[in-house]
Amino acid sequence: MKMILGRFAILAAILGFWEFASGRFMEPYLISTPSKIMTTFWAWLMDGRIFFHAGITALEAVAGFILGAAVGMTLGILLGRAEKLAELLNPFIMGFYSIPKIALAPLFIIWFGIGLEMKILLTATIVFFLVFLNTYTGVRSVSPELVNILRLMGANERHVLRKVVVPSAIVWVFTGLRLSVPYAMIGAIVGEMIAANRGLGYLLSHASAQFNTAGVFAALFAIITLSVLMNTAVGIVAKYAMPWEKAQKKREVSI
């Protein structure tokens, strides 16, 4: 409770200083003011604009997220079990991984146009690598001793996959998913900023083009809200998918 009050105090102090400083120390057209931002945000909320644009962005991010995660998980498990194949493909995978995925946007525009598909695929590409690499690591980290113990129990490859490999990879998959949420938003937003007439990214760049600073901040606020919602959703799904983790602190692994 004290923690929450403390956080609100910090927030209030920042907003108060911002409001005060604007027009006194800094030009208002550069930083706007919290009150103006709230007014703009409220207006967008009232005319439904924010829901429309946020809905588009959420659709792109979620669809890309699911597509990328599904493919990443499948390939991660597959290559995790097929050591030779993984070794064969390793340089190609690392080569693709090293491309900043955003740099693929122009190519995707040529291939898929400037509609939703382009943003979904861009997002999926980004999410794919994070989930794939985490799943692969998870599958590789399954103890061979444990697999042998199961084999002695009469397990075949399908049993090993279903009872050990997939469940033990899940922790890693969710680590990958959590890391992916902000990146999924990057895919969707950058895609919209490059070429679109709807979505939060469009709202952001449109406000910026008109020097509507309050609008830019309002759009950023909407983006933050959407990201937090998605993070929370992944957290809730993770909790249900991994009931054994309830008390345990999750370790975050970055790559």
Partner: protein
């Protein structure tokens, strides 16, 4: 050098090994050797394991005791000689045996009951059969009432009990233990030793038990095989003439036990001190 190794597993019935060689009752290792690349792990091992026998394996680190267990399980094949199980050469993954290692390898996403269910699910038992068998096993290992707990909610000893229940679930005839209790504290280890001894006798299991603990090696065993350092071979097999239903809590005062551990210590000491250098 031609090594002839034979791990004799136990036969189910003594009758099964009728013939000129009446000793060969169970699993046998005949002149078994195993090399990993240029490294020779074990060589020239001959050991016959009789039905229902508790054999402990001691020896310096890296002398190939675990290698022997792996060969009995068919996890890998010997490079020399043959390993027989009930008269037939051991092929890949010998399902007549169960394996327990130092790490309990419980599936942390499954409850205790869920963990024990793994081999039963693999065997294709029905839900009702599985539930019944789990209740039986929980009683056997002293975990009644803990079926719904997750492994990370259990103490080290309880995790071992759970692993033991899972091991026993599919009723393997022979149990292979690779220093299963090495990580436990002394009291807990003694308790688990009592459990293993009791269960082995009660269920008439044959057991190969690798350990570094010389007291444990004597306390548990009917026979104790002493390994030399790498490439490991069995130098001697000690008979442990302690009663089958021995009381592990009071062995400290048993003169046989005292003499045997002292003897084992004398056997092992040169190898152990050589290890230092």
């Amino acid at each position: 050098m031609r090594a002839v190794g034979r791990i004799c597993g136990q036969l189910a019935t003594v009758k099964a090994c009728s013939g000129a060689d009446p000793i060969r009752v169970g699993r046998s290792y005949e002149g078994v050797g195993k090399s990993f690349g240029a490294l020779k792990a074990v060589t020239d091992i001959n050991l016959i394991v009789n039905e229902g026998e508790f054999i402990t394996l001691v020896g310096p680190s890296g002398c190939g005791k675990s290698t022997l267990l792996n060969m009995a399980a068919g996890i890998f094949a010997p490079t020399e000689g043959k390993v027989f199980y009930r008269g037939a050469p051991v092929s890949a993954f010998n399902r007549k045996v169960g394996y327990m290692t130092q790490s309990d390898h419980l599936l942390h996403w499954r409850t205790v009951a869920g963990n024990i269910a793994v081999p039963l699910e693999i065997a294709g038992m029905t839900k009702a059969q599985i539930r019944e068998r789990i209740a039986e096993l929980l009683d056997l290992v002293g975990l009644r009432g803990f079926g719904d707990n997750y492994p990370n909610e259990l103490s080290g000893g309880m995790r071992k009990r759970c692993a033991l229940a899972r091991l026993l679930a599919y009723d393997p005839e022979t149990l292979l233990f690779d220093e299963p209790f090495a990580a436990l504290d002394a009291q807990l280890r003694l308790k688990m030793q009592v459990e293993v001894r009791r269960i082995a006798t009660q269920l008439r299991k044959s057991i190969l038990f690798v350990t570094h603990d010389l007291d444990e090696a004597v306390a548990l065993a009917d026979r104790c095989a002493i390994f030399t350092s790498r490439p490991g071979t069995i130098r001697e097999v000690l008979d442990i003439p302690l009663p089958r239903d021995r009381d592990l809590f009071h062995l400290r005062h048993n003169q046989h036990y005292i003499d045997l551990t002292a003897r084992l210590w004398d056997e092992m000491a040169p190898a152990i001190s050589a290890e230092e250098h």
